[in-house]
Subunit: 343 residues, 4 copies
């Protein structure tokens, strides 16, 4: 098969690095231009030394000129930078945006949470949502979901879609630090995060809240309310999301498990663990797998589900590759693995 | 002041070690017998090398004979072992149990969650609960609260007591690994826990659930429901609890903050952070402090509060010393600190 | 190409799990029997949940019967168990031993450090040593090197072979905890290892000392002396080895670098970093790459070199697969990657 | 006893924060001005939330005006800033410098490693060196040793002083990240350091090399050579130093142990572990203790010793307080503890 040439904008960051890690193992991809902002001109090996085979590649400026001439452009840029750039890329180029710019359908949500003009809405790269896989096949524009929304949505979607719960959900999600990016900040120093857990963006102010609400809202006619609390935990990668909601009526743990088992029976990357086994993030590190479990707390009157993903893999770059495969007509799992790096 | 002689049963475990760490800094305490189970006969220095001044002390068997002749006996034993032992200790001896045996008031709860006969109920060592400080003054028996219940209760108590929320609470609490004890288990190996977050005891089955319910139930006439999910995170110490509940009526974040500020205004160890600053466990490591914050999520219709404690300090051994002080009439803060070890 | 059937003995441990992780990505391998000791009868998914595609596989007893009928048998067993088992496996079966049983050439060394009868010596699976690749081509028995010896040897080999240094070397190597295995021990608990570095096996008593001495001894006529100190550091995977030795004569850092560059110019997995860039273990996690750097400390009169490997990958399972490829005539890099999982 | 008023310059950094943590527990100290550079004007609680009792204190500008009027001034400033400031502080004020400015006796060493004019040399705050305690008694100026030099020196001093070894030493020291300070840098992000060990400053270029050489050089007439390699390991605090040197003549491990035992017999903070037990950093976290062990590797012909300290406590702030006590005539251990925070 002919290879497609893929450019990666933002190759010096965590998302861009993970896209490259995966593309290096993709049989139908040739890696083209690697671009960056302030790191342009540097060798990739000094910034991403784990990408050994690309150590000698030099980063170019992110611009129309450097991104031109590729079959696919993956954007791994800070929020707000994808919109203007994407507008200038040709309609025949597959553009996959790992940023937030094109995820939200409601311009008001965008403006409220991101504080700038809404760039638009692209096909949403979560193939596991009903009808989404069809939208992504052959698409030329894809908005990769946020990491928290990916796991939060998949953790609660079957329960909401089946009406097992009132759509008044509480999600507390613990994330590794790479989700906060590679820009140096005091509160992200190793000295600060090791040995500590903290909460942030509490009270509905985290930007991923409207995205989770939008995803779950597409599964029910009832109005959805989401209480979302992110935690920063001392590990580089991984998110564990705990989701719960009031039971809409009597349901046993076994019945809830069956609903989840059926919902994800044909999904290549969503793995419902055997009943009684709960997810851990280590099992999915570096992989595109989602590990899930669900139960019912009768005394509390709630369904409780837990999901684990790698925020950079299935939560970002893995989803980008999965969508690339769907958009270009490859097998959806090409270049992706459901095997985690443990211990 | 005359010193009291304190024996510590279970001196080779994490709780016992922390009790000793604190007692070494207590001006009115002389450390007496140190006892253990299978580790009896060994030098403390090989098992607890951080307790440098006690390195040469030899562990004795835990028995009536070795514990006799002390003013205070602190029990740091596996659940179920304190009951039989305490029954034989004299009524004039202050017995402080760091285990669960005497915490629950409802024998049915005990039997359901611990699977054995209920040993009884002792004054509950959470002085910050209304009326509790009075019960502890001069007490001869004290049941130290569980680590999760301590922080979960303090995080939600003002909101429940003031009727700000419906007492239908969701708590997700992330704990360091020392809460799981020192007995070697594969799932607690460093190789397993580093780089990973996992959920366990999900769905209302964790033993601390009835204790949290009991504590919050004492603050309201309405029936309390608690959905409690513990997470294991890669750090040795600390718990961060995220608690939320549906608003009972309109309340602003500032009003909720005021309720918390008043509730804890006179507490020496409960520190409500300035509005907008959220707790992190590192700030309370090794200390008896509790750091708290609260807000209101209007869109979700919930009050959300977050609390941080050191599970071994304020969550266990610090509470034991605080109660020792209250029971013996010392200043409540003697030998305790509100300063954490950071970074 | 026809696939070879590979059995893995010791599939529930860390080395066995890593062998399986790599074999799942090997295009010419079909995974056959998975065997274990006390874990026989359990599903792999409960013991190695990261191996998602093999979650339903049931572990069999490690025995001649279960291992029979495979083209390749990989042994990932505790030291001393490979010898008796291997003696019964047919000469036509490729047997790759990840244990220590067949590494040492001197029976006296074996007896002194392992305390039992020497099982023999097999071709040593470090293809990067002079002449070793030829011995491994077509071999039916391979002894996979120890993790510390792999990185320690590669870090110092060019300097010793070229006579830049007196072969009186000092190696201090910091290892993640997975090198100590999956059997639960108190000193390996997460609570113990997180936030701590310790030394162990100090003073020449670690079992990998004679193996390093043997490797370097093959490169020079002078008698080799090795001072080896291992450190346990708070991470699951990875070894960073610091090696130094007295300069045999005047040599500049640039000259030493050139010697290393030439020595490893054709090696697919040994990557000498650009001068001035020092290795970190994160860059090689999950990969078969070795990252190296070397310099000269003129004031101290020593050459200093640093190497990084993943102890489970290139340090164990990656080497096993690399040797499998050589023994069976595949491209040496089949199923292996030089890309690490970072951050 | 009358309290002394102590100002801390650099109160927002790690060293300054640790000084304050210790001073909060010092019975004869009243905490005066807290000053900072760019953080002046902020509340300490937002920058050092673990210092709960000082949360409301506001940082002032570091200047002569704010530091005036104190009995003691502790400088915890970036290297090079102490010199000019100290020159203006009165001779009657006790000035304790946690920086490097006044440690080195050889101006050439200073200029070569720090690249600026030498500020001078003050009494060196390592009381455990022969004769040093006398110099510190009543001193008005103290240069606190570097963290690496403290533990490296104490680990090898008895062997060098007793002539057990040739003074041609190799030190490899693994440090937590707080030693690198609180200024945000990409390579110190939690995402980068967790799960990774790296070497830096290799080949004699680390600034602590001449300080170690100077310390050991004071113990022998022979010229001292030091090969020093620092490692960055994934933990916030602690240094484990591995030191070795060629034996000068026949000596057994027991004889070497005896030399160490005698050398440190009267030291309140240096604790030689029982033979066979090796140090770990966790045992000394937050404490002023140094844990040591020594042995002889006969095959390698080397003495090997290992030492552990908390880089911020005994390695910086603890030494500052210890010297404050000596300078002011308090008991040397006032406000200091030999008990670590573990697990």
């Amino acid at each position: 098969m002919n290879k497609v040439r893929v450019a990666v904008a933002g190759a010096s960051g965590y998302a861009g690095g993970e896209v490259l890690r995966l593309l290096l193992g993709h049989p139908f991809v040739e890696i083209g231009a690697l671009t960056a902002g302030s790191n342009a001109g540097e060798q990739l090996g000094t910034l991403q030394p784990h990408l050994t085979p690309l150590a000698d590649r030099v980063l170019e400026e992110t611009s129309l000129a450097t991104l031109a001439g590729h079959d696919v452009v993956v954007l791994a840029l800070p929020h707000g930078q994808s919109g203007p750039l994407a507008a200038q890329l040709g309609d025949d180029v597959l553009v996959i945006d790992c940023g937030a710019d094109f995820r939200l359908t409601d311009p008001g949500d965008w403006e409220r949470f991101y504080g700038s003009a809404h760039a638009g809405t692209w096909p949403y790269g979560l193939p596991e949502l009903p009808g989404q896989r069809e939208l992504l096949a052959g698409a030329k524009r894809v908005a990769v979901p946020g990491c928290y929304p990916t796991v939060s949505t998949l953790t609660l979607a079957p329960a909401v879609a089946a009406g097992l719960v009132e759509p008044d959900v509480v999600v507390v999600a613990a994330s590794g630090t790479s989700g906060a990016g590679k820009a140096p900040k005091t509160n992200l120093l190793g000295s600060e995060v090791m040995g500590s857990v903290s909460a942030y963006g509490v009270g509905g102010v985290h930007r991923h809240t409207p995205e989770i609400t939008q995803n779950l809202g597409g599964l029910t006619d009832a109005p959805v309310r989401v209480s979302f609390t992110p935690l920063l935990v001392p590990m580089p990668r991984g998110i564990l999301a705990t989701g719960s909601a009031p039971l809409a009526g009597p349901v046993t743990a076994a019945e809830a498990y069956d609903v989840y088992a059926k919902a994800y029976a044909d999904e290549p990357f969503v793995h419902l663990l055997p009943q009684g086994q709960w997810p851990q993030t280590k099992s999915v590190l570096g992989s595109n797998a989602v590990h899930l479990q669900v139960t019912v707390d009768e005394a509390a009157g709630r369904l409780v589900a837990v999901g684990a993903v790698d925020n950079l893999a299935k939560g970002t770059a893995g989803a980008a590759v999965q969508c690339l495969n769907l958009a270009l007509g490859y097998d959806e799992a090409t270049g992706l693995s459901a095997v985690g790096l443990a211990p």
